[in-house]
Symmetry: D3
Amino acid sequence: MAGLKYMSGFGNEFASEDPRCPGSLPEGQNNPQVCPYGLYAEQLSGSAFTCPRSTNKRSWLYRILPSVRHKPFTPMSCGDLTENWNDVEPDPNQLRWKPFNIPKSSEIKVDFISGLHTVCGAGDSKSRNGITIHMYTCNTSMTDKCFQNADGDFLIVPQQGEILITTEFGKMMVEPNEICVIQQGMRFSVDVFGETRGYILEVFGAHFELPDLGPIGANGLANPRDFQTPVAWYEDRTVATGYTVVNKYQGKLFSCQQDFSPFNVVAWHGNYTPYKYNLENFMVINCVAFDHADPSIFTVLTAKSTRPGRSALTFLKP
Amino acid sequence: MAGLKYMSGFGNEFASEDPRCPGSLPEGQNNPQVCPYGLYAEQLSGSAFTCPRSTNKRSWLYRILPSVRHKPFTPMSCGDLTENWNDVEPDPNQLRWKPFNIPKSSEIKVDFISGLHTVCGAGDSKSRNGITIHMYTCNTSMTDKCFQNADGDFLIVPQQGEILITTEFGKMMVEPNEICVIQQGMRFSVDVFGETRGYILEVFGAHFELPDLGPIGANGLANPRDFQTPVAWYEDRTVATGYTVVNKYQGKLFSCQQDFSPFNVVAWHGNYTPYKYNLENFMVINCVAFDHADPSIFTVLTAKSTRPGRSALTFLKP
Amino acid sequence: MAGLKYMSGFGNEFASEDPRCPGSLPEGQNNPQVCPYGLYAEQLSGSAFTCPRSTNKRSWLYRILPSVRHKPFTPMSCGDLTENWNDVEPDPNQLRWKPFNIPKSSEIKVDFISGLHTVCGAGDSKSRNGITIHMYTCNTSMTDKCFQNADGDFLIVPQQGEILITTEFGKMMVEPNEICVIQQGMRFSVDVFGETRGYILEVFGAHFELPDLGPIGANGLANPRDFQTPVAWYEDRTVATGYTVVNKYQGKLFSCQQDFSPFNVVAWHGNYTPYKYNLENFMVINCVAFDHADPSIFTVLTAKSTRPGRSALTFLKP
Amino acid sequence: MAGLKYMSGFGNEFASEDPRCPGSLPEGQNNPQVCPYGLYAEQLSGSAFTCPRSTNKRSWLYRILPSVRHKPFTPMSCGDLTENWNDVEPDPNQLRWKPFNIPKSSEIKVDFISGLHTVCGAGDSKSRNGITIHMYTCNTSMTDKCFQNADGDFLIVPQQGEILITTEFGKMMVEPNEICVIQQGMRFSVDVFGETRGYILEVFGAHFELPDLGPIGANGLANPRDFQTPVAWYEDRTVATGYTVVNKYQGKLFSCQQDFSPFNVVAWHGNYTPYKYNLENFMVINCVAFDHADPSIFTVLTAKSTRPGRSALTFLKP
Amino acid sequence: MAGLKYMSGFGNEFASEDPRCPGSLPEGQNNPQVCPYGLYAEQLSGSAFTCPRSTNKRSWLYRILPSVRHKPFTPMSCGDLTENWNDVEPDPNQLRWKPFNIPKSSEIKVDFISGLHTVCGAGDSKSRNGITIHMYTCNTSMTDKCFQNADGDFLIVPQQGEILITTEFGKMMVEPNEICVIQQGMRFSVDVFGETRGYILEVFGAHFELPDLGPIGANGLANPRDFQTPVAWYEDRTVATGYTVVNKYQGKLFSCQQDFSPFNVVAWHGNYTPYKYNLENFMVINCVAFDHADPSIFTVLTAKSTRPGRSALTFLKP
Amino acid sequence: MAGLKYMSGFGNEFASEDPRCPGSLPEGQNNPQVCPYGLYAEQLSGSAFTCPRSTNKRSWLYRILPSVRHKPFTPMSCGDLTENWNDVEPDPNQLRWKPFNIPKSSEIKVDFISGLHTVCGAGDSKSRNGITIHMYTCNTSMTDKCFQNADGDFLIVPQQGEILITTEFGKMMVEPNEICVIQQGMRFSVDVFGETRGYILEVFGAHFELPDLGPIGANGLANPRDFQTPVAWYEDRTVATGYTVVNKYQGKLFSCQQDFSPFNVVAWHGNYTPYKYNLENFMVINCVAFDHADPSIFTVLTAKSTRPGRSALTFLKP
């Protein structure tokens, strides 16, 4: 997949159409009565409609079939996923996890979804306040199956093995020392190329942002230009045997069936997208004479709480 | 009740006295050592004392007997009311309720309180954060009984049958296509005139407000002039058989007895009152050339969360 | 004029119609194609259209003839009015003015306008930032003449002699130990009843507000209920000899002629109005054990600067 | 110039390089010790370094010769440009300008700079607070000459004749019913194709922004996708006879000479750029049942004052 | 302990060193590679690193042995401490506690920790939102034992018996009519001198602050000068039998052992410290003419919620 | 003057008394009817009374004679001081000043006041908005003379020669590579020890603050601990020949006579004080891998404008 293309910038108002369908992106309006190629226009909201510009997030997707054309969701096993912190006794000792073992594909086939393990968390998705940390270990690509997190955003940190993520917005290849963010409600499917492991930071009720830099100035830490968003890519594929959509909703898993691939978005525009970032581009700043700065100086992305200066979740450059 | 009078304006600093007791409203101070007619002065707070002007809410009530002159509260059955969301499994499918059946008064007498059913919700009243949606179905007026919600505000939306609401501030007749708001701590009694149904939006920890209009300008959507607040009305009535006050507190019901009607407020002033609104007065705004605006353009009232632009609960014009 | 009526409340959304024309206030909308009695609807804006609710000010006036029906403005003598501070050398010594002499009506007729003297100021009206302090001394009522300040708000403090102020919103009688505020753009005429003197605080670019009270709580200092706004009053009067409108614009005076009284507003509604306040109602608060509080504890009204906690102009109870 | 390309989005973090120099944009850092092609890296700041993300503006330009390589500035005639409002008496009458006459090129050659006339204004550039409105009338393209406004931003509204604007960021063709914005410090040259006229809104100390939409929601008025920013274009051109840079600084004009074209930026990235907008894309919103909204509903771009909801300057769709 | 010294001021950037070790506080930097006297430098954070100045709290402690040199924590009995409010039924009646009985030391030895009883609360420490009210009753000093609250801040109000509190920052003697605050993460030990009782306000996720005074001005209520912070004091004491550190974490108690006293901080500096206040210094303010102010006028300290003007917890002068 | 003592901390609530008068600082209140030693209590305000805690500045001074006991101010020559920027033509070229020559004391005696030269500025003191930059060159100490700036704060940067500054709060010795700040309204006298030169940054309407550090965290740049405030020092000295107070007011100089030294403050407390800082303590932070940060990374002190992130004046470490 060396040929994957990306658009640069953080939080840009992007626009992209698959080159196989020139003119598929409507011009001058969002929701024409008849879209080019007979596509269906859908708005995917990433914020309350009434948020101010700086936090107002939405994208318009133009797709071959509407996303609601699926059978009802039914509960499925949550495996090692949980959001119920009361089941665990608190422990004030400093903890460190040794790397989770990755199952051998010769023994058992595990894909990204079945390989999710919740490590810890606080708060809950229902109250739109809190975070969760998961690990993923897998050895098999997801086949005719996608995942959608209705609870919050996933910041994915591969530790071993690159992952190819197909989303409604296009494809991203993410390798160790890169991170990617799949925001709430975006459907995606993960292909792997061997034994694969990483961790996931999930945040409810707030999106990841670049920190304000204060006296550091207009450049520094993770620069917005170095974030990469995929370009539109679609498949017009019928899946007679059924395509499975797995939905995490209020901390639990549900699945439904449909008879076509959800990655049928021919064109899209908007500022609510998945994106990735290479940690090598981080512009490191620190004390140059004596002492050293607090670890916040390594902030890559942060999700704000409602107290000024206090984050709900911050990802630091390792 | 065609003769009911109202004062116009949203969030005004109102003043009203029952015309049967001229001069009952003290002038120039709130809490004289001896009030006119020997009334008792009580402040009903709708906010922290220290809130800034724009959110500071309180009214002064001048009443025949103090509101605390009642026997202790004891728990009572909560019927179909609940605030315990963990008892219900989440369901990611889109849901729609068919209209609740209204019991026939020939079969069973049901008043506004016993006819309350909780439909859904999130958060809880204890943490002062969250919402609940209830239905009410009833066929009988409340007799020698009033309700008081210690948990939050009720926005009541009649669907079938008008309701006559007697409050400590006066009387309101509310018909379908009208809404009314009874704020936290205000006692009220509901009279009905047949089979009656509606729904109730309850919000904890925030009051309903008119939305800021941004570029829409100084007029539009629900205009403040069209909100109506009752005028003072009292009854000086002893209830030998006992008057029942039902209190919803932390999601549960309690009742106590007293030997007089609580609607004994002869005069009052303040900016914390019940009010009603006729949805026909809504000044509809939308796109006039192409596309259409997001549903927030139909916002009648909204209760703010602590994230800018994100509401805890918004009532849209149906 | 003992019979003058007022509506109580500060910043309320008021509505009023002259009882001689019942139904003159349009219901349910602001700007009907045909108003009752053939009146003209005009919006008087007291803020940018896009201000948030708490600072958004406007009123709708329904009048017999449109306010623009006048001849062009021409410059007139400014007398002792000025906004040019560079003409005066600064003086760091503490200053106190002895009372200005009031001219005898037997010697010279002076009305409110010709009796204006600027005492001091800072900033200017053009930049919408600054204040001015004027004195007025007069002995004669304004006849077929009104004043309109396009630059800012007048807070008028009578020292000697009551003044009867006729405005587009109705009439107010203001006596010593009372104050009144005529906001930007409101036309008014002043009648006096002998030798009359007072001072005027003028502020540009901000309106007077009640201060937030902080720990003082929900009541105290000037209570909103004690502010009084006039009720609608109109005259349908032709002035063949010409009615003069004097306009202060960018610190200078201009006048124009029209052939009818501008006080022809039959009904109005809105939250942008003139108002008055009796200083006896001020709820004085201070230290009760030792020391004494700073003078800000006597704040009646304040006009905010854009620095938190710093006012552009504050009027303290004398 | 039909072939001009633009990038879409408002306030995006853009990146562009002239296709004649592939790889000219440095990757992964802004200021390498040796830039590709031996280019000079320069940061153009559009805000204080310490502004928060939402108002922090800067671009990095990679150019053939440094922009400071010019001779000193010397004063030149300001023609009809001024910033001295005290020279004009105020006039409270409503004013309207009839269209300025455009000089015939057969009689006199007038380019964009010499054809500037100040119409009115307030505040001044020194205090970083205020606005100016200019007209331009011209019949001749600027030759070996560019303009740079050190005082504020220009929002240009062509009335007659399209204009081709060459900037350090690339080229834009702007026709009547389009607008463009050239921000503070950006050098540009204007080519015309006949008798040409338009007006210019200039604002000091604030940039133009899209308004927050409030209840209108995530789409409406001027949509961010419809703003267009030029792509990188350069010329490596020596001008033996001297290239003139005209600088407006504190309301006055200065010029200096250099021996090369300033449009030598081979690649650039950043969020501080010129842009244009076609007013046909404006998504008109208004009342659909009765009354009409305030004119703010036609806001295309607005420059904020420091009072919430009050703009320094707003451009409304005509 | 009459000789105990304190530093005055609220929230000051303090610096203190035990006079037995002159020069123990490093100058000009916080974290030298070798500290004076071979001390260990530790930063104790009282806020997120990224909080703005007004809420950024941290201190640097220079100690003989690192604080992490202890054995692992193990759970211990929580006695009457709890944070589980769901176990108690709500009760809307007004409640008042009669004084808790203090056990006789002749019958049972009870120290500060074992004498803690939770009275009521709301929210929880995990979500960093909520409060708890505890009582303490004890008759015996803590021996070779200290307490550390990882959940929030303790505001301690002695009712009977003075308490001598040894902290990592020094010693404080607190008597009835005084209060003290021990903030999150600060280890302390309590000595008593007889039968001792008091109550404790605990707040999660916010620190106590002095209220903004609004119109009261620059002086009044609890003045910052009257708050007292201890001076550095250390003991270099080995405890062969084991020193016990008790940790409250997520509402439960844990203990660990170490072989030295934790009060080994020779010098420290910073703005995150314990402090005490004598309620006699409270500058009482109230109405002096009529009515009386709301109880907020007696605010000593308040912990803010995220709603303007609404506190999470306020301590009023009794 | 090696023995000068200072208190450490920025913006602390300090308290100090001259050791020659133990107990001179009143305890438990600010304004006793009779102060210790018969001193006069005076409050020196550094902000509006109503500013929130974080910007509320004032000190209480206890002095031998009241500060108002002086004869009236009269204008004096302003020398090279000015605030009139319109007298100078703007110049867009980059400017650099060569060092001002210091007059020889053998030729002419010049003290700090007579050696002041204004270099440039913007805004003005009357509107409380703007800055000025002055140089000082002098060779003689001020004798029986002090200076008081009623317009704004002085940040003094010695370039050659240390200066001994006597203030109402005590004495400070400031050497090259140190800076000091004398805030608005504080009287001071300057002693020099040879040919002396430096520059002065003056800001109107805002005080200098430490910048918020954002991701830099809780430590870095100028640390608050390294700022030094003088300790109380007084002289009880009659000056029969007259002591001169020079006052800069609205950009002009005035002087008055009194018959005693103004440095008669025996004790004081408060958070509004002069202070100094040694630039060697600046904790330098910058990029450590590639590129370099914007100059704001060297911010020592900044005075905020009313636009977020934009300063009125920033002093960078040279």
